[in-house]
């Protein structure tokens, strides 16, 4: 390989056919005279612009179909000509410099064209150099050079992460690996499970219980997840009514009065709330608005007056932390869109309450397709304010346009699976942790179950990894009508 040119932080390296280099690999440009080595990543591979190739191809393609022949090429020059024609140009991005064995972010120097030696840098060396694994490794999978790559759980702590990729590329699979990895180190993980994909995390593929079984709690709203109004303070119910059920401001003010009245008289039950709304002296429109929301609360099945069947979410969080971490899965698969919003509002409000009062240290929230249950107003709240309380979110989506641009910009880690749609690529290229060219070029060609890791988890060295398999019962499979005819 030979260094050809440098423009900004882009290096062009000439690579010959007998040198195998793939997109995403790292190269070391060693300049012995300068006592420095530059680390670059191959983000694209093109044919070198060898003059005359077009003529050569036209010459062969237009006539080879009907002309046979032989070459008497005693000096075997054709092999050199073909070698030249297959030369490739590696488009690389500069990622730092090694000086005296230490990694620095310096990229302003220029290695020598004539005497620099360019070689591939194994992922193992890069991981050691950048200290990517850290002290709490979570095994993610294998890199292209068969290195088992683990990320440091510390790099998910206090961070905002995004997992995105087109349908069927393994997003949920990756988030399961991260969630279980975090739970291994004692973290509380809450998963907003839209399709019931995570409900079998406690089981092996053969259906037997796995080592996580006792650490996993699955809550199904209206079934195994019910709450009393008594457990729900005014702040939580107000958020639910305003954001999830769209209660107007005037009616909300009236509801606050009713709630406080019931609280004072010790009658904070679902039944008494209904009666109080009906008997409350107020504008009929307000009363109607309040009663319709009340009916929604009742019909959701999420609220109950029966203390025996109610669950204290806060206690569950505290218990999970005491027991050395675990995963609470909110199964939203059988919940209607409006009930879903109500449940999520409740969960988030309770999390915020518990975190702000230091009842628990921190929670890792995994939110699948959050745009389906999260109000617009909540996005910034989760990313900025709630982060300071200790709520560290990972958004998982196959529709990158549903995540706001400012979320991408603030994301500390991005796990990118394959995308081919130009529009989607444009959106994800807004992630601030890597340059747009790297993202769009590499992600477009990612095979299934391969992920491009960006951000703090890889110390800003984008790395492609094949996600490891997980011995967990799969629940996220699509149901098929012609199931018997499909190969599984």
């Amino acid at each position: 390989m030979r260094l050809f040119k440098k423009t900004g932080n882009t290096m062009h390296i000439l690579c010959f056919p007998d040198e195998e280099v793939e997109k995403g690999e790292y190269l070391l440009i060693e300049d012995e005279k300068a006592h420095k080595s530059m680390i670059v990543q191959v983000i694209d591979i093109e044919f070198a612009n060898v003059p005359g190739v077009m003529e050569e191809m036209l010459r062969s393609s237009s006539i080879e179909e009907f002309v046979e022949g032989e070459d008497d090429d005693p000096l075997d020059i054709m092999s050199h000509i073909l070698y030249i024609q297959d030369a490739r140009l590696l488009i690389c991005k500069v990622h730092g410099t090694i000086v005296n064995g230490k990694l620095t972010s310096e990229s302003s120097w220029l290695p020598s064209r004539t005497h620099s030696i360019i070689r591939k840098i194994p992922t193992e060396s890069l991981v050691k150099l950048a200290n990517i694994e850290g002290s709490l490794p979570i095994m993610i999978g294998e890199t292209r050079d068969s290195f088992p790559l683990a990320i440091d759980a510390h790099q998910l702590d206090g961070r905002l992460s995004i997992i995105t990729g087109k349908k069927g590329t393994g997003k949920s699979h990756l988030s399961k690996i991260l969630a279980l990895g975090l739970a291994d180190y004692g973290a509380i993980v809450v998963i907003l499970d839209l399709n019931g994909e995570y409900t079998s995390l406690g089981y092996n593929q053969d259906g037997s219980k796995n080592r996580y079984y006792d650490k996993i709690k699955v809550l199904s709203p209206g079934k195994t997840f019910k709450v009393t109004l008594y457990q729900t303070n005014l702040y939580v119910i107000m958020r639910t009514l305003v954001y999830a059920l769209g209660l107007p401001g005037t009616s909300a003010r009236e509801f606050r009065h009713i709630w406080k009245f019931l609280e004072k008289t010790g009658r904070l039950t679902l039944h008494d709330l209904g009666e109080a709304i009906q008997n409350w002296k107020c504008n009929q429109h307000v009363k109607d608005a309040l009663y319709s929301r009340y009916s929604a609360l009742v019909n959701s099945g999420f609220f109950t007056d029966n203390m025996a069947e109610a669950i204290s979410f806060e206690k569950m969080l505290r218990k999970t932390e005491r027991n050395g971490g675990g995963i609470i899965i909110i199964d939203l698969s059988d919940t209607s869109p409006s009930d879903r919003q109500m449940v999520v509002e409740y969960v988030l409000a309770k999390l915020q309450e518990a975190l702000s009062q230091w009842k628990i240290r921190a929670v890792f929230l995994f939110a699948e397709e959050a745009h389906l249950y999260l109000k617009e107003t909540y996005w910034d709240d989760i990313v900025t304010r709630m982060r300071h309380f200790g709520l560290f979110t990972t958004f998982i989506t196959n529709q990158p346009n549903t995540i706001h641009e400012n979320i991408y910009r603030q994301a500390d880690n991005v796990f990118l699976l394959n995308f081919v749609n130009e529009h989607d690529l444009q959106i994800i290229s807004r992630a601030a942790r890597a340059d747009a060219e790297t993202i769009t070029s590499i992600v477009r060609d990612l095979p299934s179950h391969h992920c491009l890791l960006l951000g703090k988890v890889v110390k800003d060295f984008p790395i492609i990894v094949k996600i490891r398999s997980l011995n967990v019962k799969t629940m996220g499979q699509t149901r098929f009508f012609f199931a018997e005819k499909r190969e599984i």
Binding site: V50, P51, G52, V53, E55, E56, R59, I63, F66, V67, E68, G69, E70, D71, D72, D73, P74, L75, I77, M78, H80, I81, L82, Y83, I84, Q85
Partner: protein
């Protein structure tokens, strides 16, 4: 008794094997290798601008024939295609300057022979072969290359080594094909003219004679011609006539045209509808009627692209150098002969240091 028809089989040729058997390639390869050894370890200057100028077409009849504007009694000859499976053979050779060393220049030559036999096209490519031509070896290289051609090489300060190299290899290929094939139409790229030097004329005459002895007919085809007749470019003379047709340029001034000897009968031909008109030179020793029949066999047995014979077109395509060919050859030279590549602008500086540049350079 039932009469049995006698079919004459179409000749089959194995050009690459025959080339090797004839020793033609062996001797040229040896000369190439010997000349290249003298380039070993030398400074090598690649002038890309000069290379770029190569990739332009040359005018075929570099010899300017002075045709006097006399009356010519000939008339347009309409042609009818004769399909009899006569083999058609096209020959072309290309050369290119690969670079300059501190002792001379390196050229590469490649030849192509394309045959159309039994309705199938086949090609043989010979080369590319690099030659390092220096003041010291120029005489030896060209003398050796010309040995069997009865051409005596005279060192002249005005000689263009590249053209000469190309011509010598082309002559060898033409001579070889004339000897090897039978009852074929052999197409040369260019005209049947030679300089007035006796050996050049002899050389061309010998090749044509060999071809005739083997019942072959040589036709030289010029893509571009600057010949003019009564103020017209000769290829424009056929405008308005229905192709395929032929028109002979009969002019007494043509047999001894200044410093040139014309060994062919000169025609202008438009061989296909919608095609271009070309200058055709046909061996003068072939009777006029037979020459016309040869052209009729050509149009009957050959595919014509824009009126130009496909074998000759393919021979041209196969022999021509592309820029990537040149880079590939340069790579081989640097790797095999340890040539030290320098940028063109730095040649003087490399050789003479601060004394090699003018003020301001």
């Amino acid at each position: 008794m039932i009469g049995q028809l006698q079919y004459e089989t179409t000749p089959k040729y194995s050009f690459p094997r025959s080339l090797r058997d004839a020793g033609i390639s062996k001797r040229i390869v040896e000369l190439s290798l010997n000349s290249m050894r003298t380039a070993s370890g030398r400074i090598f200057d690649v002038n890309n601008e000069e290379l770029a100028s190569f990739f332009t077409e040359r005018v075929d009849d570099k010899y300017q024939l002075p045709i006097k504007d006399e009356f010519f009694p000939a008339s347009i000859v309409p042609l009818r295609a004769i399909r009899d499976e006569t083999p058609i053979i096209g020959i072309d050779v290309s050369s290119i300057k690969i670079g300059v060393t501190d002792a001379g220049a390196i050229y590469a030559v490649r030849g192509a022979v394309v045959t159309k036999i039994n309705n199938r096209y086949r090609y043989v490519r010979f080369g590319p072969l690099p030659f390092h031509i220096t003041k010291e070896n120029i005489h030896e290289v060209f003398s050796e290359l010309s040995r069997d051609l009865s051409v005596r090489f005279h060192l002249s300060p005005y000689i263009d080594s590249q053209i000469h190299l190309c011509n010598v290899i082309e002559k060898r290929l033409r001579a070889y094909v004339s000897r090897l094939v039978r009852r074929s139409i052999i197409l040369w790229d260019g005209s049947l003219t030679a300089g007035m030097q006796r050996n050049l004329v002899n050389d061309l005459s010998k090749m044509l004679r060999t071809a005739r002895e083997n019942s072959n007919i040589v036709i030289g085809i010029s893509k571009d011609t600057s010949l003019k007749f009564i103020g017209w470019r000769i290829t424009d003379l056929l405008n308005g006539y229905k192709p395929p047709c032929l028109f002979e340029i009969r002019s007494p001034s043509l047999s001894h045209a200044g410093s040139l000897r014309v060994l062919g009968r000169i025609y202008v031909a438009r061989l296909a509808k919608g095609g271009c008109a070309f200058r055709l030179d046909i061996d003068k020793a072939i009777p006029r009627e037979e020459s016309v029949v040869a052209v009729e066999k050509l149009i009957g047995n050959e595919m014509l692209y824009q009126g130009y014979p496909e074998t000759l077109r393919l021979a041209h395509i196969y022999s021509t150098f592309t820029a990537s060919d040149v880079i590939g050859i340069q790579r081989l030279l640097i790797r095999k002969y340890g040539l030290k590549l320098v940028a063109h602008d730095n040649m003087h500086r490399t050789l003479f240091g601060p004394y090699g540049t003018r003020l301001g350079d």
